[in-house]
Amino acid sequence: MSNLGPEPRINSRNLSKFINQTVRLTCKIVQVKGDMATVEASDGGQVGVLLSRDMHMADPFVEIIGTVKEDNTVKALTSINLGKTLDMKAVDQVVELANSSKGSGVFT
């Protein structure tokens, strides 16, 4: 299923709504162990991410594009580096708005 717009942005709370869909997760990298990374989403919740072979995350803040698995982890397809500082509060506000009724039509 491919939608024409960008993938919906999520945080740890709306993960479950998008099982098996491609999403964007703006997050901060907490830990990387091999090909599994633990990241902190914009609402503070932690998510497990399965990295792909050629992904290289240079900055502490990244946006991961991937699919949500049944177990609420994300299988990453690619990532975008977002730099060393990021206002996560603003990000979370965007995510919440996008997923709320107010935001429908704006982001989708």
Partner: protein, 608 residues
């Protein structure tokens, strides 16, 4: 039979002015008389009864509280009745004491003889047979202060401000911080930190004179004013630096227009006000909260502050005519420096300006000076500001030492107009941002005065022709346009100097836009340099050098960036056409974090 009555009571109350504690004396009423309304104590309509009260030894005048009137009307209380006084107060009227009966028990309603041989206490006192407190002077309020407490404990003498040493007779000591209009029985012990001259005024309502003092103690400070009569009474008594007890004055809300002392309230001296000198040196000396000269940039215009510094330069006395009153008054500028390496101008007014004769670079501490933005930052002695030359405090000694060794020879940075106000990291408040559309709709700059506003916009296009002008190279910051005079040198009209090379300064014309509208603005050197990232001079050389591509690249690179522009809009007539000219005074990097937060707030307010 005098043992029925409590002998000694009358003498105690009328003589020493001190009522015995916990007394519920048994007294006899010798006579009762109705007073006509014309007398001083009556409220005008109600009957008041006067009684002569005896304790067997002396008798004195008493008044009955109005609620007791029925007892007299019903004849329960009459001549020779014996009462046990439960609650009373005393009052001083025209130098005589009166006992006010508030509550009593009737022991014997009917009694048919006078007990004892009471003598009039007034005569005894006058003869000196009975000691008496110094008579209540004009400070005594004629109205009774009913402080009678049920249970009979004596309320103490009328608080007439009788000048007894040590302020014994006045209300308890309050810290200045706790003064409020809801209390009227207070005393403060405070030092006079500032005293003004006597000022005269006359307006349609009349004329008069007044003076102000500022009192301070450990808790805070408060301003006091004495008008007319109190002006005369207290002006000579109060001296700067000395400590006084002040009581029985009125507390009002402070008039911030005249009073910039840090207190919501202010004191007004009244006729009953009592001021007594006090020897207590425990009241602290003037408290300062010094800012360094370079910290002044953080303060806003019209803020008050304290500052200490060395006087580096004293300018001449000049005179300014006030537009409001058409009166000339003296002013003098001095330059203050401190260890921060920054210099600032401070203006003295009136007498202080005239009498300032300190040529020896003294250390001066200023309290309560107002911050202005003339020439970047400046200071002004407000009417209640004080200055203290070479004060005996640590900061002063430190300054003296520093100046004598190093400071004297240091080059100081003076505040210039380009260092206007806030530093870069204090962004303008977001709700003050206007969109370009709003600025145009509101016709900003189209009225005669200059309008200032701030807008967040994107640089759309910068004109690369005529981006600069050759300016006078005078290091003092002349910046006037110089003209090439044929010999290959450039001459400046203002400085009357020739320069081989001018310094180019920006006069950048850019088109900025936001989601509402767009406009053309002019940016001068400082702003333009920031936007383009290269000095005008260097850019000029680049252009002259022929590298057109490099030259243009600067302009294209700068476009497309967003900034928060502080704008000035003014009317200009240009070839007979009147237009609004928008000048950018400052361009700051927008604070995205704050703006996002603001936007989400706005969105939350939408009720979709």
């Amino acid at each position: 039979m005098a043992d029925l009555l409590d002998v000694g009571f009358i003498q105690a109350v009328f003589g020493d002015g001190e009522a015995p504690e916990g007394a519920s004396p048994v007294l006899q009423i010798l006579s009762v008389k109705k007073i006509n309304s014309a007398s001083s104590a009556s409220s005008g309509v109600v009957d008041r009864y006067r009684a002569i009260l005896s304790d067997g030894e002396y008798f004195g005048q008493a008044m009955l509280a109005v609620n007791l009137n029925p007892l007299i009307d019903s004849k329960e209380i009459d001549k020779f009745s014996i009462i046990k006084l439960r609650s009373y107060t005393t009052n001083a009227v025209q130098g005589r004491r009166l006992l006010i009966l508030l509550e009593f028990d009737i022991l014997e309603s009917v009694y048919n003889e006078k007990i004892g041989e009471a003598v009039n206490i007034e005569h005894a006192v006058a003869n000196g047979t009975v000691s008496r407190a110094p008579a209540g002077n004009a400070n005594a309020a004629p109205k009774a202060e009913p402080k009678g407490r049920a249970g009979g404990a004596g309320p103490g003498p009328a608080r007439g401000g009788a000048r007894q040493g040590g302020g014994k007779d006045v209300g308890p000591l309050f810290p200045i911080e706790s003064l409020s209009p809801y209390q009227n029985k207070w005393t403060i012990k405070a030092r006079v930190s500032a005293k003004s001259e006597i000022k005269h005024w006359s307006n349609q309502r009349g004329d008069g004179k007044l003076f102000n003092v500022t009192f301070m103690d450990e808790s805070g400070e408060i301003r006091a004013t004495g008008f007319n009569e109190q002006c005369d009474n207290f002006y000579d008594l109060l001296e700067e630096g000395k400590v006084y007890f002040v009581s029985r004055a009125r507390i009002n809300i402070a008039k911030k227009q005249f009073n910039n002392v840090n207190n919501e309230y202010e004191i007004a001296f009244e006729r009953e006000t009592a001021i007594e000198p006090c020897d207590d040196a425990s009241v602290p000396q003037i408290k300062y909260n010094f800012k360094r000269v370079d910290e002044l940039a953080d303060l806003n215009k019209d803020d008050m502050c304290d500052i200490i510094g060395v006087v580096r330069e004293v300018h001449d006395l000049s005179s300014v005519t006030s537009k409001a009153t058409q009166k000339p008054f003296a002013k003098r500028d001095i330059q203050i420096v401190d260890q921060s390496g920054q210099a600032v101008r401070l203006t003295l007014w009136g007498k202080q300006a005239e009498s300032f004769a300190h040529d020896d670079s003294p250390v001066i501490a200023f309290k309560g000076v107002k911050v202005g933005d003339f020439g970047g930052r400046s200071l002004s002695m407000f009417s209640s500001a004080t200055m203290s030359v070479n004060p005996d405090i640590n900061e002063a000694h430190a300054l003296r030492g520093w100046y004598d060794s190093a400071g004297r020879n240091t080059q100081f940075n003076a505040y210039t107009s380009t260092m206007a106000g806030r530093s870069d990291n204090s962004a303008p408040r977001l709700n003050e941002l206007k969109t370009i559309g709003e600025a145009k709709d509101e016709n900003l700059g189209m009225r005669d005065k200059t309008d200032y506003f701030t807008t967040a916009a994107v640089v759309a296009f910068i004109k690369s022709e005529n981006f600069s002008y050759p300016a006078c190279a005078n290091p003092d910051g002349c910046n006037k346009k110089v003209i090439e005079d044929g010999n290959g040198t450039y001459v400046c009209d203002k400085c009357d100097k020739h320069w081989p090379e001018p310094i180019h300064r920006y006069i950048l014309s850019m088109n900025c836009m936001d989601h509402t509208s767009s406009f053309w603005i002019t940016a001068f050197n400082e702003v333009a340099e920031k936007l383009l990232g290269i000095s005008a001079n260097d850019l000029w050389k680049l252009k002259e050098g022929g590298d057109e591509q490099q030259f243009q690249s600067y302009f294209t690179k700068a476009a497309g960036r967003s900034y928060t522009f502080e704008m000035m809009a003014k009317q200009d007539s240009y070839n007979e056409q009147v237009r609004v000219r928008y000048t950018c005074r400052k361009a700051g990097i927008p604070d995205f974090v704050a703006e996002s937060a603001y936007l989400s707030q706005q969105i939350a307010l939408f009720n979709i």
